[in-house]
Symmetry: C2
């Protein structure tokens, strides 16, 4: 039934996604002595405007439109911070960044991305993670990071035949 699946749910209360994410970020930073500075917070907010992964230069453009006019390194540093502390996931296959739905929860995420509508949805299948860790162990490989991204069509786009 997948009760919790905001991104691919026909519609949902996205305002609550946002406040949840921002709240989690505040709490995580407070508890770990991290500084959620203005730009970092603003970038996080911009990323959470939707469940579509945002490109760095897209964020840069939005910030510019508000008068900040930052340069690439500024945005990339904010993104690095957010990714480093698990507030945002990088979607390597798209060179884009999406808000983490389980910030502070110590998980390994798998990300589904729709080719039709670009929505991304994060899953955290522990069994999948364990399987990968087991394979790594068999190879005597020490994992630092897993990148698991699944591209295809979400239920909506599959049904309506949209395919890019």
């Amino acid at each position: 039934m997948n009760a919790v699946n905001p991104a691919f749910a026909g519609s949902h209360d996205h305002r609550s996604c946002i406040s949840h994410a921002l709240g989690a970020a505040e709490r995580l930073c407070a508890s770990q002595g991290l500084r959620l500075t203005a730009i970092r917070r603003r970038v996080l907010e911009l990323i959470w405007r939707s469940h579509r992964p945002s490109g760095a230069y897209e964020l840069l453009g939005q910030l510019s439109a508000e008068g900040h006019k930052p340069s690439p390194p500024t945005v990339y540093r904010a993104l690095d911070f957010l990714v480093a502390h698990g507030l945002v996931h990088k979607v390597s296959s798209r060179n884009a960044y999406v808000g983490c739905m389980h910030a502070g929860q110590d998980h390994v995420a798998q990300i589904f991305i729709c080719d039709g509508c670009s929505l991304a949805f994060e899953q955290a299948d522990g069994a999948l993670d364990r399987r990968i860790r087991r394979n790594a162990r068999d190879l005597h490989f020490h994992i630092r990071e897993q990148t698991v991204e699944i591209a295809g069509l979400c239920p909506d786009c599959a049904e309506t035949g949209r395919d890019d």
Copy 2:
């Protein structure tokens, strides 16, 4: 025991990796009526010079050094061809390309990449693939492509403490 693990094996007969890969490419193209043209073949050979994923501009540089002096589209077109027909895997998390060790074998690959020495090794765990497909089915998500990349330290680098 992982008998077949060329990339992370202390050393191996890489000449046989190369001839195997090139042979497989020839056969696959012949059997499917594809044209393994000079550039395509040359790019494939360059990629197979090692088990380290190559960047497009790195390949471009090597081709230039031989006198070909191609431009980016030429290289990207060759890469597109090789990827499309399963001769090469794109490593999204590195924006690089590595030779496929199971060309023509219809598999879904997971790629281990060492942060220390950059060696990449491809695995094809069917159970992992099935688990991902099952998760997708539960979400009513129609998979087009999986990207599974595991970064960390290979046995050698873990032992010698190299970490970048």
